[in-house]
Structures are given as structure tokens and as C-alpha cells.
Symmetry: C2
């Protein structure tokens, strides 16, 4: 099973590495990081570089695609090699998935038309104009073979969900135990429904800076 994780400049590192460290433990999984050009790809902050081992043309038939988010997603929303690649590989995938604003790329490629999907809570309004049905109260949304996760850390929950669907519950549970994923956030601030109102309002007011 080949798993392709897309990288692009100014991606969010955890969007890619969370699912990676789950899915790479699936039996028979071969994970490849892919970008327009092979080589180091810089993240949104500028201090992290993850190496893409393959260019888009080197990965033609992945079984599973993961599209991370990050402000760099905006540069690929119009026709171009990234959307072309997504369309082409999706014709053969078993699962086409995204984390955070990665779902906006899937939607821009036309892959989420009429489908239920999610994205980072700050970007949820951008799904409907791209033809998808936004779902606000789920961290992981499954519609057929399209699986979209909410912001950043939701990629971990999505990948474990996928691991169970692909390899069965015991395999997914063993991966979760290996990652000791028994989360205990020190605050109840991970969702706009639970975070203090002023924190939510502040992030909303900085929405454009965060997303672009």
C-alpha cells in the first residue's frame, strides 16, 4: 500500500507528520512525501524543512493520499500541477484524505463537490463556495473514500480512524498504544466551542494573517 503525503511550501508540519506517524505503522505501508520538486520543503514558520523524496511525476498510483494544510495551500487553489496531480491520482486511490485547510485543495480540484467535509474552524466558510457541504461539529468527516479532518492535530484522530478501517481495530489500537496517544491537554481550549470567548474572538480577528 503506497501512501503519498503532499508537501508544498508553507505547509503546517504537524498536519503531515501526525498522520505520517500513524499510517507509516500500518502493515505493508510505504509512505512517500511528494512535492512539485523533490527536495526540502519549508513549512509555514520557516524554521522546519521536511524532505520530499519524490516529485509529483514520480508518484502516479498511490493507494492513499494525505493533503496537509497550511497557508501555503492558497498558492495552489487555481489550476496548476498540484490540482492536476490530485485529480489524476484520485482516479485510482482507495482513500483521498486531508488535514486542516488541505480540504480546500481537494475541494478546489472538484473532488468534494456535493460531499460532506471539514477543515480548520477558521476556514470552514471557504468550503461551501467550493461546492462541499461543511460539517462543523466533527473532527473527522468520512464521505465515501474522502476523509477530511479539522485543524492540524485532528490529523492524528483521522489517521487512527483510517488505520482501523484499513487494517482493523486491533492494528489501529496497537498503533495508538505505541504512540501513547492518551491525550491530556492542559487546557480546554482546543475548539471554538470550548475555548474562552476572548481567545476565540482574537484568533478570528487575526484570521487573514493566520490563514494566508
Amino acid at each position: 500500500m503506497q501512501i503519498a503525503i503532499l508537501l508544498f511550501e508553507r505547509f503546517t508540519a504537524l498536519d503531515a507528520v501526525g498522520p505520517y506517524d500513524v499510517l507509516s505503522h500500518l502493515p505493508g505501508a510505504e509512505v512517500v512525501f511528494v512535492a512539485e520538486q523533490p527536495g526540502p520543503v519549508v513549512n509555514e514558520i520557516g524554521s522546519l524543512r521536511l524532505v520530499a523524496e519524490a516529485g509529483l511525476g514520480d508518484v502516479l498510483r498511490p493507494d492513499l493520499v494525505v493533503v496537509p494544510g497550511g497557508p501555503g495551500q492558497n498558492a495552489h487553489m487555481d489550476d496548476g500541477p498540484v490540482l492536476e496531480w490530485l485529480l489524476a491520482v484520485d482516479a485510482h486511490t482507495t482513500w483521498t484524505t486531508s488535514v486542516c485547510t488541505g480540504s480546500l485543495l481537494l475541494a478546489a480540484a472538484g473532488l468534494l463537490a456535493g460531499r460532506r467535509a471539514t477543515t480548520h474552524w477558521l476556514a470552514i466558510e471557504q468550503l461551501a463556495p467550493l461546492g462541499a457541504h461543511p460539517v462543523e461539529d466533527q473532527r473527522v468527516v468520512v464521505d465515501g473514500k474522502y476523509v477530511t479532518a479539522a485543524g492540524v492535530s485532528a490529523g492524528l484522530d483521522m489517521a487512527l480512524d483510517l488505520a482501523g478501517r484499513i487494517a482493523g481495530d486491533p492494528v489501529a489500537q496497537a498503533i495508538q498504544l505505541g504512540l501513547e496517544y492518551d491525550p491530556r491537554p492542559p487546557y480546554q481550549a482546543g475548539s471554538p466551542r470550548t475555548a474562552p470567548r476572548e481567545i476565540v474572538d482574537n484568533l478570528r480577528s487575526r484570521r487573514l494573517t493566520i490563514l494566508t
Copy 2:
């Protein structure tokens, strides 16, 4: 505030990237990945390479150090440049921290002598012989300036805890909301105390393969 994240061959990617994507959002934070030699560093699985921008000799006075775990930690438990660097920079840090089996490196450097600490649940027996007091039932253990996290994903909880201590609760909460860290694991299998018995036993029986 300079934050140095140590990389070594066969590290666990999420151990490093989880804390990175929290701490890099702290006001004034400058994060640098550091390894024995600058350049790409391969993870435990072999399909991920993260770039170390600096060599050990380039980072002499970080304010905060994060040591990830992964089976590659074993290669650095005896005297050598990694332990020497940890000892040298620890003399000046405000916080010296680890995720997963990274705490074994801190302990091997003598930094956890007589201190409470944790590590991946499969490695917890290795702390006492190195002079630390193992704590089994906490994801994040703070003893003075030494902060150790349990396995892999516990680095996220540790980094949010640290963010609050360093910059105050509202900053940490805003980071948590930005990462939409409102975890909903699909299984209750993230700890040996909650996972199905046969899954725990199976991982225990493969302990040496997983840890080395």
C-alpha cells in the same frame, strides 16, 4: 528565546514535530533543529527526513532544549558528542525537556539524577538504573527546570504546559485553539491502563524490537 530541538538518526518524527508546532508559536521564539552534523536526518522508519539547520557546535546557548525519542537514542547513551552537548547547554537553559525515550538521554547525561521523570511506557524500567525516579501515571512530569513527557504524542501536552509556564495561559490557549487540539481518539487504547490487555501484552512482547 532560542529553542533547540535535537535530531539524531532514527528519531521519532512526532516527538520532535509535536512540540515544534506548539513552541514555534510562542512570541519571540526562534526554533532551530540541531544534529551532530547539519543536513537531513532520517527517522526511525526511514521514509521521513527532517533537516537539521545547525550542528551541535552552532548552538551553544539555547534557552530551551527538546530531546525527542526514538530507537536511535540508544546509539548516544554512552559518552559522546550528544551527551556532551546536552551537559554543556543544560548549564545555561531555562528549560531542559524531552519526549518519549529522549529522557533516557537526559538521564544518561546525568541530568535527571534524583529527579522525577517519565518516558515511553515500554521504557519506564530504564529510568531508575540511570538515577531518575520514574513516574508512571503522568503524561508530563515537571521537576525544576526538567520537563519530561511520556511516549510520542505526549510531547503535545508537554509543549502546551510549557507554553503556559513561559508565556501565560492565554497564549498557550490561543496556540491550542490554533492547532484545534481538541483530541477525540477513536479508541481508548492510548495507555497500558486503558488499552485491551492482549494489545498491551503484544507490544510488551515486541518491546526490544520497538525500542532498539
